[in-house]
C-alpha cells in the first residue's frame, strides 16, 4: 500500500475541508505545531479505511468537527498492487462510501467498506469488529509509540506467514505453552511465586506442617513416656528401699541393740552416781580438817595480835607529848609572818595614792601642751572670719554679672554686624583733596586729608572752604531702625548695672570674679579646720574648751599641793622613784606570803601527826579490849589444847573417806565411757527415728509416684505415642512424595520452557534478521529477546535486560525499531504497509534521534514511512518528503 493523497471535510478543526499534499514513496514528514490537526488526520485515515461508513461510534463522533452541519468526510487515495484507489467515506450525516479503482467507481456503501478490506487483506471479525492486522501493528498513534508492538490475531497471522515461509512453523508451540501453563499452574499449587518456599495454603506446605506437627506430637509423647519410664524405675527403686527398711528382722535387731545400749547407759550412770557420793564425802571430810586447822590458827593469831597491840600502845603513849609541842611552835611562827604581811600592804596603799597624784599631774601637763595649740587655732579662725566678711561686703557692691556681660557682648555683635551691612549698602563718599585745596575741605567739621573715602551711614556735611557746604544724607533704610533699637537696648543694660560702657562692665566682672576666688580660698581654709560657713560658732567653742583646760590644770595642781606644773623630766623622775618603791614592796610581800604558806603546811603536818597518834592509840586500845573479849588471858592455854585435839580427829575421818573414794574410782566407768554409751544410745535412737521417717517419706513418695503413673498411664500415653509415630511416618512419606512430585513438575516445566525457548529462538530468526540492521543503527551488538506472540521481553547487550526495566526513551526506540523490522519483513513478503508514526520519538537525545532518522530512512527504502511530528526543528534533519496541509478555502476540495 502506498498512500498518495488525503482530503478531509467536517473533521476536527478542518470543518471547511483540507487536504494533505506531498505524499511520496520513502519517508514523508508532516511537521506542524500543536493543534494543527496532525493526529486528527491520522485518525481520519484509520477511520476511512477500517470503519464502516454508517458507524456512529464515539470515536467517530469525537472525530467530527464541533457544530458542523456537514458530514465528516474523508477521502484517501492509495496505490495497491499497481492500481490507484480512492476511497471516500462520509460519516454521521448522509453516510456514504465509494471506492474507485483507477478512476472507476467499483463499489458503494457497505460493498465499498468491505472491498477496501479485501484489498488490504483484512477480515471482519464477529459483529462489527475488525482486526486491522498489520495496520494496527505499524500505525502508531499519539502516545502509543512507547508500547512494544503487540500484534493482534491477524497481524500475528501475517507475521507468522511471513516467518513460516522462511523457517517453517513452530510445531507444537501452542501445545507446549499449554503444557507449560498447566505445569506452572500445578506448581503454583505447591510453591510460592519465587518457588523458594512452599505456598502457604498449598498441599506441600500443609504436608510439611503436618509432618512437623506429628514430629512435635511424637516428641511430646516420647517425653511423657520417658517420664513415665523414669517414674516406673523410681517407683521400683523406692519400693525395694521400702521393703528393705520394713524388713522385720532388721527392725528387731535395731530395737534390741537400742535396749542393750540403754541398759549399759543406765548401769554406767548408777556407778557414776555412787562415785559422786563418795567424792562428796571425801570432800566434806577434807573440809572438816581444814576447818579445825583454821580455827586453831585463828586462836593462835588472836593471842599474837593482843600481845603486839599492847606493845604498840606503850610506844604511842610515849611519843604523843613531843608531837603536841611541835604543833604549838608552828602556830607561833605563822602568826608572826601574818603581822609582817599587814605592814607591807599598808605601805603599798600609801604608794598607790602617790601614784594617782602623779598621774593627774601628767594629764594636766598634757592639757597644758594642747592649750597652746588651741589658742593658735583660735587666732587663725578669727583672721579668716574677718577676711570673709570683707570679701562679702565688696562683692555686694558689684552688680555686674556674667549674664549681663554676655548680653552686652551679644548686642555689640549685632550692632557690629548691622553696621557692616549698612556700610556695604551705603553710598561711598570719596573725596580727593588736591594739593592746593589742602585744609580747605572739611568733613563733618574735621579737616579732610588728601584722600577720604567712607560709606555714608549718617548725614555727612562736607564744607569746601567757604565755597560750599555739602551735606550727604544716606537713603532711608529699615536697618537704621533696628540699629537704633539695639543702641537703646545696650544703653538700658549698661544703666541697669551702673556702668557707662561695655568695657567698664567687663572690668567690673573681672573684679567680681577675683573676689569670688578669694572667698572660695577663705572657705577652703575654714574647711581645713572642719568649720562650716559659720566660723563664729567654732570660735566660741574653741574659747570654751580653752577655759575648761585651764580649770583642769588648776584642779590638778591643787590636788597635788603644788603651785605650778612640773616639767616633763621632773614628773618622769617622780614616776620612776614611785615604781621602784612599789617593786620593792611587792617583792617583800611575795616572800612573806611564801613563808606563810610553808609555815601553814608545817602546822598542818604537826596537827595531823598529833591527831593520828591519838587516833591510833584509841584504836589499839579498842582492839585489845575486843580481842580480850574473845579470849581472856586466863583462857589462852585451855582453848589451844581443845583446838589441837579437834584437828587430830578431823584428819582421821578424812583419811577414811579418801580410801573409800579411791576404791570406788577403781571400779566405776569413767566419763568418757558414759559419754560413749550415751552417744551410742542416741545414735541408735536417731537411726530408729530416721528409719521411721524414711519409711514415712517413702510411703508418701510411693503414693505420689503411684498417682503420677496412674495418671500418665490413664492418659494412654503409650498408645498416643505409637499413634503419633505412625502419623509422623505417614506425614513424612506424604511430604517426600509431594516433594518428589514438585521436583518432577519443576523438571517438566523447565524442560518444556527450554525446548519452547529454543523453538522460539529458531522461529524468530527472520524477525531478528530484519531487525538486526535497524537495531545496529542505535544499539550496536544488541540482540532482542522475544517471547510468545512476538512480545518483546528484553534486550541482550553485555547481559540480559528486561524490557520494562529499560528507560522510557530506549523502550520507545526499540518498539519503533521492531515495528520497522516487522514492516520490512512484511514488505519483503509482498505485504507492503505504510508505517505511520504520530508524535513518536519523544525522548530521543540528539545522537539517538539522528540514528533513528537513519533507521527510518533505511526503512523508507522499502516502504512508505509517514512521520507526524510537532517538533519542526528536531525533525528537520530527517529529510524525506515534506507533507503540507492545505485548507480547501484556498483550493477547493476534490470531489
Amino acid at each position: 500500500m502506498f498512500i498518495k493523497a488525503l482530503a478531509v471535510e467536517g473533521i476536527g478543526r478542518f470543518a471547511n475541508g483540507a487536504h494533505v499534499e506531498g505524499f511520496n514513496q520513502g519517508v514523508n514528514v508532516l511537521a506542524a505545531g500543536n493543534e494543527v490537526g496532525k493526529s486528527t488526520l491520522f485518525k481520519a485515515i484509520r477511520t476511512c479505511l477500517f470503519a464502516r461508513h454508517d458507524s456512529k461510534t464515539t470515536d467517530i463522533r469525537e472525530l467530527a468537527s464541533d457544530g458542523s452541519q456537514l458530514p465528516a468526510t474523508v477521502q484517501l487515495t492509495f496505490e495497491q498492487n499497481g492500481r490507484t484507489y480512492v476511497i471516500r467515506k462520509s460519516f454521521l450525516r448522509s453516510p456514504s462510501a465509494t471506492l474507485s479503482e483507477d478512476g472507476r467507481e467499483i463499489a458503494r456503501f457497505k460493498q465499498a467498506d468491505e472491498a477496501v478490506w479485501d484489498l488490504l487483506g483484512l477480515r471482519p471479525g464477529s459483529g462489527r469488529t475488525l482486526d486491522n492486522g498489520a495496520f494496527g501493528l505499524l500505525w502508531v498513534g499519539q502516545g502509543a509509540s512507547f508500547a512494544p508492538p503487540a500484534p493482534g490475531a491477524a497481524a500475528t497471522s501475517l507475521l507468522s506467514t511471513a516467518i513460516e515461509s522462511e523457517v517453517g512453523a513452530l510445531v507444537g508451540g501452542e501445545r507446549a505453552r499449554h503444557v507449560f501453563d498447566d505445569v506452572t499452574s500445578g506448581l503454583r499449587r505447591y510453591l510460592t511465586a519465587s518457588e523458594q518456599h512452599p505456598k502457604a495454603d498449598g498441599p506441600l506446605h500443609a504436608a510439611m506442617g503436618n509432618a512437623e506437627k506429628w514430629r512435635a506430637a511424637e516428641a511430646e509423647h516420647q517425653k511423657k513416656l520417658a517420664a513415665l519410664e523414669m517414674q516406673f524405675e523410681k517407683l521400683r527403686r523406692q519400693r525395694r528401699q521400702l521393703r528393705d527398711l520394713t524388713d522385720p528382722v532388721a527392725a528387731e535387731q535395731l530395737t534390741q541393740e537400742l535396749a542393750s545400749a540403754r541398759n549399759d547407759l543406765a548401769e554406767a550412770r548408777s556407778a557414776a552416781q555412787e562415785l559422786r557420793t563418795c567424792e562428796a564425802e571425801e570432800t566434806s571430810a577434807r573440809h572438816g580438817v581444814e576447818s579445825a586447822a583454821q580455827r586453831l590458827g585463828q586462836h593462835r593469831d588472836l593471842i599474837a595480835r593482843i600481845d603486839c597491840n599492847r606493845q604498840a600502845e606503850a610506844a604511842l603513849a610515849q611519843e604523843l607529848p613531843q608531837l603536841e609541842a611541835r604543833e604549838q611552835e608552828a602556830r607561833n611562827a605563822a602568826a608572826r609572818t601574818l603581822e609582817q604581811i599587814a605592814c607591807v600592804k599598808a605601805a603599798l596603799q600609801t604608794l598607790s595614792t602617790r601614784e594617782q597624784q602623779a598621774a593627774r599631774l601628767d594629764a594636766a601637763l598634757i592639757r597644758a601642751q594642747r592649750r597652746n595649740e588651741v589658742a593658735r587655732r583660735l587666732k587663725t579662725l578669727e583672721q579668716a572670719a574677718h577676711e570673709l566678711r570683707d570679701v562679702d561686703a565688696r562683692l555686694a557692691q558689684i552688680r555686674v554679672k556674667p549674664k549681663t556681660v554676655d548680653d552686652l557682648d551679644d548686642l555689640e555683635r549685632q550692632i557690629a554686624s548691622l553696621d557692616a551691612q549698612l556700610a556695604a549698602a551705603a553710598a561711598q563718599l570719596a573725596i580727593e583733596v588736591k594739593p592746593h585745596g589742602a585744609g580747605q575741605v572739611r568733613i563733618g567739621g574735621a579737616r579732610a586729608k588728601a584722600s577720604y573715602s567712607a560709606p555714608v551711614l549718617t548725614p555727612i556735611r562736607v564744607s569746601v572752604a567757604n565755597i560750599a557746604e555739602i551735606t550727604v544724607t544716606p537713603a532711608a533704610n529699615a536697618r537704621h531702625d533696628k540699629r537704633q533699637s539695639l543702641d537703646e537696648g545696650r544703653a538700658a543694660l549698661l544703666k541697669a548695672v551702673g556702668v557707662v560702657s561695655v568695657a567698664e562692665a567687663h572690668a567690673l566682672l573681672s573684679q567680681r570674679r577675683e573676689l569670688e576666688a578669694t572667698r572660695k580660698a577663705v572657705l577652703a581654709q575654714l574647711r581645713t579646720f572642719k568649720v562650716s560657713d559659720d566660723p563664729e560658732a567654732a570660735i566660741g567653742k574653741l574659747k570654751s574648751g580653752l577655759a575648761e583646760t585651764e580649770a583642769a590644770i588648776a584642779a590638778a595642781l591643787a590636788a597635788a599641793g603644788r603651785e605650778r606644773l612640773p616639767t616633763e623630766q621632773e614628773l618622769d623622775a617622780e614616776k620612776l622613784a614611785l615604781g621602784q618603791e612599789r617593786n620593792a614592796l611587792e617583792s617583800r610581800r611575795a616572800n612573806l606570803e611564801l613563808a606563810r604558806e610553808q609555815q601553814q603546811e608545817a602546822l598542818e603536818n604537826a596537827v595531823e601527826a598529833r591527831s593520828g597518834a591519838v587516833s591510833k592509840l584509841d584504836l589499839i586500845r579498842n582492839r585489845i579490849a575486843e580481842d580480850l573479849e574473845l579470849c581472856a588471858d586466863a583462857d589462852r592455854a585451855a582453848r589451844d589444847a581443845a583446838l589441837v585435839l579437834e584437828v587430830t580427829r578431823a584428819e582421821a575421818a578424812h583419811r577414811t573417806a579418801a580410801i573409800t573414794l579411791a576404791a570406788m574410782r577403781e571400779t566405776a566407768p569413767d566419763p568418757a565411757e558414759i559419754e560413749r554409751r550415751q552417744t551410742r544410745c542416741e545414735r541408735l535412737e536417731q537411726a530408729l527415728a530416721n528409719r521411721n521417717d524414711e519409711i514415712r517419706q517413702l510411703e508418701h513418695d510411693i503414693g505420689r509416684l503411684t498417682g503420677q503413673i496412674q495418671a500418665a498411664s490413664g492418659d494412654g500415653v503409650g498408645e498416643a505415642l505409637v499413634a503419633a509415630q505412625e502419623q509422623r511416618a505417614l506425614a513424612e512419606r506424604e511430604y517426600a512424595r509431594l516433594e518428589q512430585h514438585v521436583a518432577a513438575l519443576k523438571l517438566l516445566r523447565d524442560t518444556v520452557a527450554a525446548c519452547l525457548a529454543e523453538g522460539r529462538e529458531h522461529y524468530y530468526q527472520p524477525v531478528r534478521r530484519h531487525l538486526r540492521p535497524f537495531l545496529n543503527d542505535l544499539f550496536p551488538g544488541c540482540e532482542l529477546e522475544l517471547g510468545d506472540g512476538f512480545a518483546i521481553t528484553g534486550i541482550k547487550r553485555q547481559r540480559s535486560e528486561l524490557f520494562e526495566r529499560l528507560s522510557d526513551g530506549t523502550q520507545e526506540q526499540i518498539a519503533v525499531l521492531v515495528r520497522l523490522a516487522m514492516g520490512a519483513m512484511l514488505a519483503e513478503r509482498g505485504q507492503v504497509v505504510p508505517i505511520i508514526l504520530d508524535d513518536a520519538l519523544v525522548y530521543c537525545d540528539d545522537d539517538r534521534i539522528q540514528r533513528m532518522f537513519d533507521a527510518l530512512s533505511r526503512a523508507g527504502k522499502h516502504q512508505q514511512i509517514i512521520v507526524l511530528t510537532c517538533r519542526l526543528r528536531s525533525f528537520g534533519p530527517l529529510g524525506g518528503h515534506t507533507l503540507r496541509i492545505r485548507s480547501d478555502c484556498e483550493t477547493g476540495m476534490a470531489a
Binding site: 507444537g172 508451540g173 492418659d715 505415642l721 523438571l747
Partner: protein, 374 residues
C-alpha cells in the same frame, strides 16, 4: 483337659496408614476375642490361655484398657488367663495394676507372678510373666523347680523367643527350647511370634488372632489343645479367628498386556472386601501402560479393604508409540526426548532419573489430554 491357646492380641494397636479404616482393624482385634470365646464354648474348652501381649502398649487409654475386658465379660463360663508380655510387661502401678483396680470378674485371671496356679483339680498353670520389656535371663527357668501335685498336668505359659530359632520374634526374651522337657511340662503355650508355629513336641506359638502386618501371619488364628492326662501328648488343632487377610504379592511387569492378567489374578482373591493387599510391582512398563496401570490400581484399591502398592522397583520407560503419542515432532516431542535421555542416562542421579520419569509420565498424560481435548 481341653483349652484354647492364643496370644498377641495387641489390643490398641494403631493403624494410621489406613486412615479412616483404622477403626475397623482395631475393632476386628476385639471381635477376635469373641470368636475365641465362641470357639472355646463350642468346643468345650473351659480355659483360654493368652500368652502375652494382650495389649499393644503398656500405657493404653482407659477405653483401650477396658475394651477386651468387656468382650471377655460376655463369656463368664470361660476362664481367661492373661499373661503380661513384652508389649505390656507387668510393672508396679502399670496397666495390670490398673486392671486389678478396675475390679475384674472372677473368670478373668491375671498371672502376674511366677507361681503355679491350679486350673482345676487335674492341671496347674505355670506362668512366666514379663516384668520388663526385655529380660536377659530365661524367665521360664523357675518352672523346672515349680512344685505341683503328683499326677496333674503342668502347663507352662510364657512370652518370648525360643533361643536359636530364628529372629522373627519381637523380643529378645530368651526361652530355652528344652524347657518343656526340663520342667516336665505337658504343654508350653508361647506368645510373641505372629504366626502359628510348633517349636517342640509340646511347645507352640499360637500366633495372633487377628493379623496385623504384611509379610507375617496372613490370617488370625488360635490353637485348640487337648491333653488326655499328665504325660500324654497334646493334640493341637489350629483354627481361624481373624477377619482380615494380610496378603503380600510381588508382580513383575514387562508390558501392557500383562495388566489385564494381573488384575484378574488379584480380583480372584477371596473376600476382597476383607483383603489387605500389599503389592510389590517390579519391571518396566511403557508410559501408556504405566498410565493404564495407575487406573487399574485405582479400581483395585476400590475393590479391596486396603491396597498398598510399592512401585519403587517399577520403571516407566517411554516406547516409541508413547513418544509419538506425545508428538511426532515439535516442542513437546523434543521435551519428551530430552526427558527420556535423562531417564536413560546412568550418569544422572537416581533422584533425577525418578523425577524425569515422573515428569515424562506427566508430559504424556498432559499431551494426550490436550490432543483429546483438541
Amino acid at each position: 483337659m481341653r483349652f484354647v491357646h492364643s496370644a498377641d492380641w495387641q489390643i490398641g494397636k494403631v493403624f494410621k496408614q489406613f486412615g479412616a479404616k483404622e477403626e475397623a482393624l482395631r475393632q476386628a482385634r476385639l471381635a477376635a476375642i469373641e470368636r475365641l470365646g465362641d470357639f472355646a464354648r463350642a468346643n468345650g474348652a473351659a480355659h483360654i490361655l493368652v500368652a502375652g501381649d494382650v495389649y499393644d502398649n503398656e500405657a493404653p487409654s482407659p477405653v483401650t484398657l477396658r475394651a477386651p475386658i468387656e468382650r471377655m465379660k460376655r463369656f463368664p463360663d470361660i476362664h481367661w488367663h492373661l499373661l503380661p508380655g513384652n508389649h505390656d510387661p507387668h510393672r508396679p502401678e502399670g496397666l495390670w495394676d490398673r486392671l486389678v483396680q478396675l475390679g475384674l470378674p472372677a473368670h478373668i485371671h491375671l498371672h502376674l507372678t511366677p507361681v503355679p496356679v491350679a486350673l482345676d483339680d487335674a492341671a496347674f498353670l505355670l506362668p512366666a510373666p514379663l516384668t520388663r520389656k526385655t529380660e536377659l535371663d530365661d524367665i521360664t527357668a523357675w518352672m523346672d523347680k515349680a512344685p505341683t501335685p503328683q499326677g496333674v498336668l503342668r502347663i507352662g505359659i510364657a512370652h518370648g523367643s525360643i533361643t536359636n530359632f530364628g529372629s522373627e520374634g519381637e523380643a529378645a526374651n530368651p526361652i530355652d527350647p528344652g524347657r518343656p522337657k526340663s520342667a516336665g511340662l505337658d504343654y508350653l503355650a508361647l506368645g510373641d511370634w505372629h504366626r502359628t508355629l510348633q517349636v517342640g513336641p509340646a511347645a507352640w506359638y499360637a500366633g495372633t488372632p487377628e493379623a496385623d502386618r504384611p509379610g507375617s501371619q496372613e490370617r488370625g488364628s488360635a490353637l485348640l489343645i487337648e491333653i488326655a492326662g499328665a504325660g500324654a501328648p497334646a493334640a493341637v488343632t489350629p483354627f481361624a479367628t481373624g477377619a482380615y487377610r494380610w496378603v503380600t504379592r510381588t508382580e513383575r511387569l514387562s508390558g501392557g498386556n500383562e495388566l489385564a492378567d494381573l488384575e484378574q489374578r488379584l480380583r480372584h482373591e477371596p473376600d476382597l472386601s476383607q483383603l489387605i493387599l500389599r503389592l510389590q510391582l517390579e519391571g518396566t512398563l511403557p508410559i501408556s501402560a504405566y498410565a493404564e496401570l495407575q487406573r487399574c490400581l485405582l479400581d483395585l484399591e476400590a475393590a479391596v479393604f486396603h491396597l498398598d502398592v510399592n512401585q519403587s522397583a517399577l520403571a516407566a520407560r517411554p516406547s516409541e508409540a508413547d513418544l509419538e503419542a506425545i508428538d511426532f515432532d515439535g516442542v513437546l516431542r523434543r521435551c519428551a526426548d530430552r526427558l527420556r535421555g535423562m531417564i536413560d542416562d546412568p550418569a544422572q542421579a537416581d533422584e533425577t532419573r525418578r523425577s524425569a520419569e515422573e515428569a515424562l509420565v506427566g508430559l504424556y498424560l498432559r499431551a494426550v489430554d490436550s490432543k483429546e481435548t483438541a
